[in-house]
Subunit: 472 residues, 2 copies
C-alpha cells in the first residue's frame, strides 16, 4: 500500500515498478501448481494462498480461498475491491492459477519452475498461461490508483481465479451457480487468450463451442463371412461412410437440418476487421501440413472458417478388422466420434439432437443406429460494437499506442459458462502470443507485453467507469 | 485288391462295404492333421502317410507324398491309376487332408479326433471337410471296378490331396506349376463343397474370387486440434467416407470404372436353375441377423447377389481417436481394408488396379492416398452345358435318383489355380451340407450322403469315359 498517494502517470508507475512486479511473478511461478497431477495438488493450494496474500497486499479488502462445491476439486481465489462510488459498475476478472504438466522435462532449456529471463522473455511454466496475465492486473490497479492519487478503484473489481482450468474446469459451472450473488457483475474481463502478434495488438471477440457425439451402427448379429454373405446384407461400415460423407454438401456446408438456424451471421464490419489481420495463409497451411491446399466452406476466408463458422469433424472412426492382414468379413458394427464446433448462438444440446435425427433419417433398413451426445461447450461472443468491448479496445489502444484489431478463437474453455451463468458480457483483454509455447516445453511470456497489459488494465477501469450508464 | 472280380452292382457294393469304409475313415479322422498349428505338423505328415497307404491298398500303382516347393510347407499326396484304355481321358481329383483347428474344445459333444456315430452322422473334425469327401472316391473306385468286373478304371484317375488348404494353400500354386506335367488332365473333379440339402442334390458351378486392397489417406503432418484448425484443412476421415460412400451407386452397383468389363452375364438358364432352388430368403436374412431386410444390387435375387455378382466390401476401417472419451482432433490419417468378391472372368490384379485409379481420382486436394493390392484369388466357373459338367450331373442323378440342381459359392479356395494352371475344366462332385458345421465345433457328415457320393464317383468315371472325345 506504499506509494499510492504519489501522483504519476500510469506508464511511469508501471515501468518504475516492473522489477518488483517480475520478482513477485517469479515467486508465484516457482509454485508448481499442476492441477492434472494429484501429487501437485498441495502446490495448487499453495498457489491459491500465495495469490490471496498478494491480492491483500495489493489492497483488496476481500481476498479469500474458495473451495469447489462438495470440496471435490482444487481451490479458486476470490477477491473484491469496491469502487469509491457505490453507483460504479462492477467488473469481474477471470483467470486461472493452475498450470499444465511439464513433460517432456528434458526439452526445457531451464527447469520449468525456476523462472529465468532471456531476451526480454520470462521463461517458466505458467508465465503466459495464465499467471503472468492474472498478475498484470494487480500492477495495473496499483498504477491506476497511483496515477489518479486515489485509494479505491473507479469500478468495483472482483477477481475469480480458478484452480482447475487446465483439468477441464470440472467444478467451475457449479461454483459459479453457488456463488452467483457474490460474483454479480456488469462486465467480465477474460485474461487468458492471445493477441495476433507483438506488434499487432488485438482482442478476441468470440470462441467456438462444441457439441460432442458418438455414433454406433450395428447390422449383422456377428461378423459375417463376406464370401457367403457379401452382396446380400447391408454392411454397417458402408452405412457409416454414406452417413458421414453426406454430412457436408459440395460447398462444405453441413447438411444437418436446422444446424445453421441459430448461427449469427458475420457483419460486414467483422469480416472487414478480420480481413485486415496480416494473415499468411500459405504459411499457416504449411504449418498444418495440409499440402498448401486451402479447404473449407465456400464463401468464407480461412480465418472465418476456423474462427467464425461452425464445423463438423469426424475425430475418430472404427469398425471391422483393423489389424494386420485380411479378414474378409462384413463387420457387425461401425463406430464414429463426431464433434461440431459451434458459433453463437448455437446450442450444443440442440445440435446434438439435430445430428441424432440426421443419423436416424439416414440409417438404411437392416442397420440400427445409436447416438450418444455429450454435455458440450457453449460458444461465446462479444459484440464488437458493445460499450464494454469498445471500452476495452480504448484501454488497449491507449496502452499500445496503435489501432487494436479483433480476432476470434476456434475453441474455448469455461468462458461461455461465465457469460451465461453470470449474465454479463465478456471483454477479452490479454497479451499472450501464439508463440508463447503454452502447453509445451519452454513456455514463456514477453515481459514488455505484460507491462503493456498492466497499463491496459489501469486504463480499463477508467474506461469502464466512463460508460457506467450501460456498459453492456 | 480282394473282391474286385465279383460282379455286383455299384450300390450293392457300396452298401455291403460301408462298414469297412467307415472304419477306414475313422482311422484317418483320428489323426489330428491341423495345418494351422505347428504342434500338429507331424500329424499332417502322418495323415499324408495314412492316405498313401490307403490309396496303395485301393489299388493305385502310384501313390506318394509330395513335399511342397523348397520344403517350406506340409505334404500333399499324389496318386495315379492309369486307365485300361490308354486313349481314355485323365481325371484329377482334388481334395485336402488337413483340417481346421478345434477350438473352442469345450463345445464339442465328443472329442474331435475320436470319431463317433450319432443319428446317421459321423462326428469328428474333418468328417465333411474334407477327409470324408476324399475317401468316398476310393470306395467309389472299388465299387466301379467290382460292378464292371475290371481291374483298371475306365479313365486315368489322378489324386492330388493337399495338406495346407485350411492354412490358405500358401504353396499350392507353385506346387501345381512344378508338377504341371505329372498333373496333366482333361477334367478336374473337386470334392470339397456342399449340396443344397440332403434331399436337394446339387453341384456347385462357380466360386467367387477376391481382390484385396488397403487404402491409407494422409493429410496433416500430425493430429491437429479441431478448435484451431477445424473447418480450414481437409480431414482424412471425411475424405475416406466420401471415397468409400461413392463406391456404390443408388442401385448398389460398383462405381469403379471398368469393374464390370469382364463379368460374364448370367444366362437365362442359369438364373432359372438358381430360382428353382428352395431358398427361404426370410430365414437366411434372419440367420444373418440382417433384420429381415433384403439388400443388394438392383435387379438380382439374393442368391444371385451372393453367388453370381461381384461385390465391394469394407472389411475394416479406422483412424483418429478410437478410445474412450473425446479427443477433438483432425486426425493425420485414415485407413480402410476393402475387398472385392469377383466373378468370372474378372482378374484380381486388374480390379485392384482399377480401384487404385478410383481412389486417386477421388482423393481431394491436401490428402495423399496410398493403395496396396494383395495377390487375390481368381474366380472360377464351370459352364453348365459343358460335357464334363453334364457327365458329372448324370453321375450324381444316377446316385441320387432325382434331378440335380446347380448352385454357386460366394467364396473360394485354390480351385481357380487348379483350372488356370492345369488348363482343365472343373466339375464339382461333393456331398457336404451347410449344416455340417465345418470350421466349427461338432463337425459332422451325413453317412448316407457319403455312400451316395461313393456311388456318384463310381458312375462319374463311366460317364467321363463316355464323353472322351471332348470332355471339356
Amino acid at each position: 500500500m506504499t506509494g499510492y498517494g504519489l501522483a504519476m502517470d500510469v506508464r511511469g508507475y508501471v515501468e518504475s515498478n516492473a522489477s518488483w512486479f517480475f520478482d513477485a511473478l517469479k515467486q508465484w511461478l516457482a509454485i508448481p501448481s499442476i492441477s492434472a497431477d494429484p501429487a501437485h495438488h498441495p502446490d495448487v493450494r499453495r498457489s491459491a494462498e500465495w495469490l490471496v496474500a498478494h491480492l491483500q497486499d495489493t489492497g483488496f479488502p476481500v481476498a479469500e480461498i474458495w473451495e469447489t462445491p462438495a470440496d471435490q476439486g482444487l481451490p479458486a481465489v476470490f477477491a473484491e475491491w469496491p469502487a469509491a462510488d457505490p453507483g460504479a459498475p462492477t467488473v469481474l476478472v477471470y483467470g486461472h492459477h493452475d498450470v499444465q504438466p511439464v513433460e517432456p522435462l528434458e526439452e526445457w532449456i531451464s527447469p520449468p519452475f525456476e523462472p529465468i529471463e532471456s531476451e526480454g522473455r520470462l521463461l517458466a511454466r505458467g508465465a503466459s498461461d495464465d499467471k503472468g496475465q492474472v498478475l498484470f492486473h494487480t500492477l495495473g490497479i496499483r498504477a491506476g490508483l497511483a496515477a489518479r492519487g486515489q485509494s479505491a478503484p473507479p469500478v468495483t473489481i472482483k477477481f475469480l481465479i480458478e484452480g482447475e482450468e487446465e483439468s477441464g474446469s470440472p467444478h467451475f459451472a457449479s461454483l459459479l451457480r453457488r456463488e452467483r450473488d457474490r460474483l454479480a457483475c456488469d462486465v467480465i474481463v477474460i485474461s487468458d487468450t492471445t493477441m495476433w502478434a507483438a506488434d499487432v495488438p488485438s482482442m478476441c471477440t468470440s470462441m467456438r463451442g462444441l457439441a460432442e457425439t458418438e455414433v454406433t451402427l450395428t447390422g449383422p448379429v456377428r461378423d459375417l463371412h463376406s464370401g457367403s454373405f457379401g452382396g446380400g446384407v447391408p454392411n454397417p461400415l458402408h452405412a457409416m461412410t454414406s452417413l458421414l460423407a453426406g454430412l457436408h454438401d459440395a460447398d462444405g456446408r453441413i447438411n444437418v437440418p436446422g444446424f445453421y438456424d441459430r448461427v449469427l451471421p458475420l457483419s460486414d464490419e467483422e469480416r472487414d476487421l478480420l480481413a485486415r489481420l496480416p494473415f499468411d495463409e500459405k504459411q499457416w497451411l504449411e504449418e498444418a501440413g495440409a499440402s498448401g491446399a486451402a479447404y473449407g466452406e465456400e464463401g468464407y476466408s480461412t480465418l472465418e472458417r476456423i474462427w467464425a463458422r461452425p464445423t463438423a469433424e469426424i475425430n475418430g472412426m472404427w469398425g471391422g478388422h483393423t489389424g494386420p492382414g485380411q479378414k474378409t468379413i462384413i463387420p457387425r458394427s461401425a463406430h464414429a466420434k463426431v464433434t461440431f464446433r459451434l458459433v453463437a448462438d448455437q446450442d450444443p444440446a440442440e445440435v446434438g439432437a439435430a445430428f441424432e435425427r440426421y443419423v436416424r433419417a439416414h440409417t438404411p433398413p437392416g442397420i440400427q443406429a445409436t447416438v450418444t451426445v455429450g454435455a458440450g461447450v457453449r460458444p461465446c461472443r462479444s459484440a464488437i460494437d458493445s460499450p464494454a468491448v469498445l471500452a476495452g479496445r480504448r484501454a488497449m489502444e491507449r496502452a499500445f499506442g496503435q489501432q487494436v484489431l479483433f480476432t476470434k478463437e476456434g475453441g474455448s474453455g469455461p468462458e461461455a459458462d461465465l457469460a451465461d451463468i453470470l449474465g454479463a458480457p465478456l471483454v477479452f483483454v490479454a497479451v499472450g502470443l501464439d508463440s508463447d509455447q503454452i502447453h509445451a516445453p519452454n513456455e514463456k511470456v514477453d515481459m514488455t507485453l505484460l507491462l503493456r497489459g498492466a497499463e491496459a488494465a489501469a486504463y480499463l477501469w477508467e474506461e469502464l467507469a466512463a460508460v457506467r450508464s450501460d456498459p453492456k
